[in-house]
C-alpha cells in the first residue's frame, strides 16, 4: 500500500469513526469513606447487568450523536471502596443469594442495581453543564435470599463546560461526580431506611452518618 493510499484509508476511517456513537468508559478514583466502620460483615452481590452496566442513547436527530456510557467497572470500584470502608468486613458472594446457594456466612447481602440513568449535555439544554442522573435499587437479603429491605436512591453529578474539554471527558467527569454522590447519599441515608434501621437495631449497631 502506498503512502497516499494509507493516508486515504486513515482519513476514511476517521470519517467513519466520526459517524459512530460517542463512547465513554467511566474512569475515576474513588476515595475511602471517612467513617468508623459498622461492626458487621456485609456480603455484596453484583449481578452481570450491574457489573457490566452500560447506557445507550440513540441520536434523535441527524446532527446529534448517539451515546454509550459504560459505568459498570466504575460502579464496582466505587461500591467496593465505599462498602469496604463502611463495614468491618466486606465479602463478595460466590453466587446470587437464594435457597440452596452455598455462600459465605455474613450478616446480610446487599444487591445493588441501576434502575435508570439519564444524561444531559449543553447541546440538549441551554445550560452550560453536563449532567448525569442515576436511580439505584438496593436489596438487602439474607444469605438464603430472604428479603430484609428494599429501597431506591438517586444520585446526581454535574460538571461545567471547560475550555479544551471534549463532550466525552465532561460526561466522564459528571459520571464520576454522580458516583461520588451515590456514595455520599448511601452513607447518609442507609440507616434511615426503616427496614435497615430495624435490622441494625436487632444487631445492636449504632446508626452510621447520624451526624447529618
Amino acid at each position: 500500500m502506498t503512502t497516499a493510499s494509507r493516508v486515504a484509508a486513515l482519513f476514511l476511517l476517521a470519517l467513519l469513526a466520526a459517524c459512530g456513537p460517542a463512547h465513554v468508559v467511566v474512569q475515576g478514583d474513588f476515595p475511602e469513606p471517612l467513617l468508623d466502620p459498622l461492626p458487621l460483615t456485609l456480603g455484596v452481590w453484583y449481578d452481570e447487568e450491574f457489573a457490566g452496566h452500560e447506557f445507550f442513547d440513540e441520536a434523535a436527530a441527524r446532527n446529534e450523536s448517539s451515546w454509550i456510557v459504560s459505568t459498570g467497572e466504575s460502579q464496582v470500584q466505587m461500591w467496593d471502596t465505599l462498602l469496604g470502608g463502611m463495614f468491618r468486613e466486606l465479602v463478595h458472594m460466590k453466587g446470587e443469594p437464594g435457597p440452596g446457594q452455598m455462600n459465605q456466612v455474613v450478616d446480610g447481602v446487599l444487591i445493588p442495581q441501576v434502575d435508570e440513568l439519564q444524561y444531559a449535555i449543553p447541546a440538549h439544554t441551554s445550560v452550560k453543564v453536563y449532567e448525569i442522573w442515576m436511580r439505584y435499587r438496593f436489596r438487602l437479603v439474607t444469605t438464603g435470599g430472604k428479603p430484609i429491605a428494599e429501597w431506591t436512591m438517586t444520585s446526581y453529578g454535574k460538571t461545567p463546560t471547560a475550555f479544551l474539554q471534549s463532550d466525552e471527558e465532561a460526561v466522564n467527569l459528571a459520571a464520576v461526580m454522580a458516583l461520588r454522590d451515590a456514595g455520599a447519599h448511601f452513607v447518609t441515608s442507609f440507616a434511615r431506611v426503616p427496614a435497615v434501621s430495624d435490622w441494625l437495631r436487632a444487631r445492636g449497631v449504632p446508626a452510621p452518618g447520624s451526624a447529618l
Binding site: P33, L34, D36, V129, K158, T159, R180, A211, L212
Partner: protein, 221 residues
C-alpha cells in the same frame, strides 16, 4: 501592503484599548488573626450545589496559589485532597451550608480526628462563576491548496462574580465575606490570522479576592 499595515494598526489600537477589565472588591471581616494563622492550615473550597453553575475548580486553585505564593508560611490544603480525605462529608449533597453545621459534622469521631490532624483553622467557601455575555461580529475562514486564512471580527464580554465566605473552624463561626465582580470585553480581529485580545476577567477576579484573603490570613500583609 497598505491594507495589511492598516489592519495591523487597527489591531494594535484594539489591543491598547480592548481586553480591559473593570473589577470591584468588597470586604467585611471580623476577628482578623493579628499574628497570622501560625502553623495551622486553611482550606479553600468551591460551592457546587447550584443547579445552573459550578464554582470552577481552577478558580479555587488560582486563589489558593496566589495566597501560598505570596506568604509561604500559610499552608493551603488543596481542594481535591481535602474532599478526598474527608469523603463523603464535603460533597455537594453533604457539605455544611453554614458555620454552625461544623458542630454536627465533628460529632463524627473520624471527621473530628481528621480535622485535628489537618490543623484546619479557617475554611473558605467560594461561590460564583464566570459567564460569557453577549457576543457580536462574524469571522470567515477558508482553506485551499495555496493556503488558508480568516477574515472578520468578533467580540464578546465576560462577567465574573464570586463571594468568599470565611469560617473560623475553632469558633464554629463566620468571620468574614469578600465579594468580587469583574467584567471585560475581549476582541478577535482576523486578517489572515485571528489575533485574540482576551480580557483576563477570571484572573482579575482571582487576584482581587485572593489579595483580600491574604490580608486577612497573613501577618505580613
Amino acid at each position: 501592503m497598505n491594507g495589511i499595515a492598516r489592519a495591523l494598526l487597527v489591531s494594535l489600537a484594539l489591543f491598547a484599548l480592548g481586553g480591559c477589565v473593570t473589577a470591584q472588591v468588597d470586604e467585611m471581616v471580623f476577628n482578623e488573626p493579628t499574628e497570622g494563622i501560625g502553623d495551622a492550615s486553611v482550606v479553600i473550597l468551591g460551592r457546587r450545589h447550584a443547579s445552573d453553575y459550578d464554582t470552577e475548580p481552577e478558580f479555587v486553585r488560582c486563589v489558593g496559589k496566589y495566597i501560598s505564593s505570596r506568604d509561604p508560611a500559610i499552608n493551603v490544603i488543596g481542594e481535591l485532597q481535602f474532599l478526598n480525605e474527608l469523603y463523603p462529608w464535603f460533597e455537594p449533597r453533604t457539605a455544611p451550608l453554614n458555620a454552625r453545621d461544623i458542630e454536627r459534622l465533628t460529632r463524627q469521631p473520624a471527621v473530628a480526628r481528621k480535622m485535628e490532624a489537618l490543623k484546619t483553622e479557617y475554611m473558605i467557601w467560594i461561590d460564583g462563576s464566570t459567564v460569557r455575555g453577549e457576543s457580536a461580529g462574524s469571522m470567515t475562514c477558508a482553506i485551499g491548496p495555496g493556503g488558508g486564512g480568516c477574515f472578520g471580527f468578533g467580540t464578546w464580554s465576560d462577567d465574573a462574580d464570586y463571594e468568599a465566605t470565611i469560617w473560623d473552624f475553632t469558633d464554629r463561626a463566620e468571620v468574614g465575606r469578600v465579594n468580587t465582580s469583574a467584567s471585560g470585553q475581549s476582541y478577535m480581529p482576523a486578517v489572515v490570522l485571528p489575533i485574540p485580545i482576551i480580557a483576563p476577567v477570571q484572573g482579575t477576579a482571582c487576584d482581587g479576592i485572593a489579595e483580600q484573603l491574604l490580608q486577612f490570613l497573613s501577618s505580613e500583609y
